[in-house]
């Protein structure tokens, strides 16, 4: 199978690297002398790439002009490589863009036009401009990309032959030299005998043109996804409320979902970091009821907890980290069940996010002879298997109510008992009690006990 590469170019990479909200800002990026990229709002003011910096500032005094930041561009490309990794297992960062080996992806995504559609649709959904071209080598794809065309393999040769020498990425002196020799298009050049071509150009330029023809390809350094997920998005203007932060958070959780899916992993623990304009960081940890893969399962509890993160200073960057992952267990959905387990887990996550970790509990049995310790409500359910020998009430009173020295005087008539519980000598809460089932004057059945040390009576619970 012959190799097939897709070269991806992001025309607004330098702008996006400075802040993901560049589209709503009048901003331009320069290389020290000239404007290299400008946002739509800046373009509307008459700014265009190639314009000198001074002219741009004179033309639009409110223009936000920033120098390009290669390091941030590299980081953004690294994030984009994560995204592209879902379409190909071979992704490389090259030539200020991405290069994907797509010949093997055809088996999964279908023919090249379908891969083209999948990539462009995904970029469009993320609101990111992107250009794309295929080629047998990355250099060939570059040539098509520069001409703004995206031919399919059956027309590669024809399109290459039409290409003028000027389009190639070789120095002006060498272009002039080839033109003087009568080579106007790549067709003229490729028709010359191999040895003649080799003699007329230095080795690097010769190899480059061979790569453009699809004969020889320079080795690529393939991107390797890191073992843990860690990505962030920055903003120009600080975000001051939850609604504004929702979109970038959705984008990050979607990327986290793709990252987890590729590994067939899930997580129950995600960590957000919100960077404030005043330099402070606010971490927000979300613990889920069970390991999840879906972006929705992360975003719902995160947005509910978000209100606590907004303080005095606006948020200028958001970072999402996943530090613990577990193998995904395939879901066994019973055809006859009315609901799926995930419904319950997602509900619990939402409730916990808003009400707090301890707000949702389940009545549990603990192996302890003291009734108040044996029956507790815990957020992580557990159940000790012990026989229940005596009647127990439906309700327990958390702090027993004092009934004085005689239950009769308080209106409690003893019916059944005593159930003697003398235990707890091994810890600091020794217990010596006689429990009785009793009836109140209004026929309510109560569970009361006498503390045998102090000879006092207490109301412990109610039978329903």
């Amino acid at each position: 199978m012959r190799c097939l590469y897709a070269q991806l170019h992001f025309p607004e990479l330098a702008l996006e690297a400075l802040g993901s909200d560049y589209q709503i800002t009048k901003i331009a990026v320069h290389d020290g002398q000239k404007i290299i990229q400008a946002s739509e709002q800046a373009l509307n003011d008459g700014i265009f790439p190639g314009m000198t910096l001074n002219m741009a500032i004179t033309l639009s005094p409110l223009l936000n002009v920033r120098p390009q930041q290669p390091k941030k561009q590299e980081q953004l490309l690294y994030r984009l490589a994560h995204w592209a990794y879902q379409y190909s297992h071979q992704v490389a960062i090259r030539n200020h863009g991405l290069c994907l080996e797509v010949a093997k992806s055809e088996q999964l995504f279908g023919a090249l036009p379908e891969i083209y559609n999948a990539l462009t649709q995904s970029a469009k959904k993320a609101g990111r401009p992107m250009q794309l071209a295929f080629g047998h080598t990355p250099e060939m794809a570059d040539i098509f990309l520069k001409q703004g065309i995206c031919p399919l393999p059956n027309t590669f040769q024809k399109c290459l032959e039409r290409t003028t020498i000027e389009v190639c990425e070789i120095s002006q002196a060498h272009i002039q030299r080839l033109n003087n020799m009568g080579f106007r298009t790549l067709k003229d050049y490729f028709e010359a005998p191999g040895r003649a071509r080799q003699k007329r150009l230095p080795r690097i330029e010769y190899q480059y043109l061979e790569a453009v023809s699809g004969q020889h390809s320079s080795p690529l350094k393939w991107f390797e996804p890191p073992p843990l997920f860690d990505q962030s998005i920055e903003f120009f203007k600080g975000l001051e409320n939850e609604k504004m932060l929702r979109l970038p958070m959705e984008r990050l959780t979607q990327e986290a979902e793709n990252w987890l899916r590729k590994r067939q992993m899930a997580t129950s623990n995600i960590l957000w970091d919100f960077k404030m304009e005043n330099g402070h960081d606010t971490p927000l940890r979300i613990r889920l009821n069970q390991p999840e893969t879906h972006a929705q399962a992360f975003i719902d509890p995160s947005s509910l907890k978000l209100a606590h993160c907004f303080g005095v200073s606006p948020i200028i960057a958001v970072r999402l980290r996943i530090q613990e992952i577990v193998q995904t267990i395939p879901k066994r959905n019973d055809l006859f069940l009315k609901y799926h387990d995930s419904d319950r887990h997602q509900l619990i996550d939402r409730l916990k996010a808003r009400l707090g970790e301890q707000a949702i509990t389940t009545p549990c049995r603990i192996a302890d002879p003291r009734p108040e310790k044996a029956n507790q409500c815990l957020s992580k359910p557990q159940s000790a298997k012990m026989p229940i020998l005596s009647p127990r009430p439906i309700w327990l009173i958390k702090t027993p109510l004092a009934l004085g020295s005689s239950p009769e005087k308080s209106g409690y008539q003893l019916l059944q008992g005593p159930e003697r519980i003398e235990t707890g000598w091994w810890d600091s809460e020794p217990t010596c009690r006689s429990y009785w089932i009793s009836l109140t004057r209004s026929d309510r059945v109560a569970w009361i006990y006498q503390d045998l040390h102090h000879k006092t009576w207490w109301l412990a619970g109610w039978f329903a």
Partner: protein, 227 residues
């Protein structure tokens, strides 16, 4: 003017014909007299039910416990802001599964949101909620819609003064404590008229049969009182 057929609304159970037995899913209340008074023969299974009482800590659980005992499926049961802490051993003895019961403590500000989340979840079978002092009509309507859509039953315990206000809850009842038990008055229900007050006596028979592990000390006077 175009005539609109109401049949589809009647078929969906969203509109009822007065005096006819409604086509709604029901769950027996566990009390024969109460079932006879409830339209369809039991509590509506997928609706918002308002219980008004001045004894919220005692009567609602007494009234609802039997219906929970009779109808258990694989879904969850929820107690929201109960007056006391549920006892796992007591629940097991009452034939309920504590591991399928959730206890939720929510502050008044979050209770309505929390109820809507649960009523709208297909994982929940029935909810018994206390602590609703003030709730607006649109919120009640949202709860009723959520119950219908996710097929959830929601018992909302409210104070007696709520009776004076109209409510979108299809079934409203008032509980009142009496010496031998409690009374229940169903003053609004789907496709049926308000019903006279029904008296339900406390079941204290089980007290005459003490557990084998317990020494029996039941005095003559108590025997008499129970019989």
């Amino acid at each position: 003017m175009k005539a609109i057929s109401l049949q589809s609304l009647i078929d969906d159970g969203r509109l009822w014909k007065g005096g006819s037995s409604p086509e709604i899913a029901i769950r027996s209340s566990g009390f024969q007299a109460l079932d006879q008074s409830l339209a369809g023969g039991g509590w509506p299974a997928h609706m918002l039910i308002e219980i008004l009482t001045s004894s919220p800590e005692e009567l609602p659980m007494q009234c609802i416990l039997k219906t929970w005992q009779l109808h258990q499926d694989e879904r969850w049961y929820v107690l929201v802001n109960p007056p006391y802490q549920p006892c796992a051993e007591g629940l097991i003895q009452a034939n309920l599964k504590p591991e399928q019961i959730d206890l939720i403590r929510a502050n008044p500000k979050d209770t309505s949101w929390c109820l809507e989340q649960m009523a709208g979840s297909p994982a929940i079978a029935s909810i018994l909620a206390w602590g609703i002092e003030k709730i607006r009509t649109p919120q009640l309507r949202r709860l009723q819609l959520a119950c219908q859509q996710a097929r959830t039953q929601l018992f909302l315990i409210r104070p007696l003064n709520a009776r004076a206000n109209a409510s979108p809850a299809p079934l409203r009842a008032q509980l009142h404590k009496i010496d031998s038990g409690f009374t229940i008055e169903i003053f609004k229900q789907p496709a049926a008229n308000a019903h006279p007050i029904i008296e339900i006596k406390n079941d204290l028979e089980w007290l005459l049969k003490p557990a084998p592990a317990m020494r029996k000390i039941v005095t003559q006077s108590i025997h008499k009182r129970l019989q």
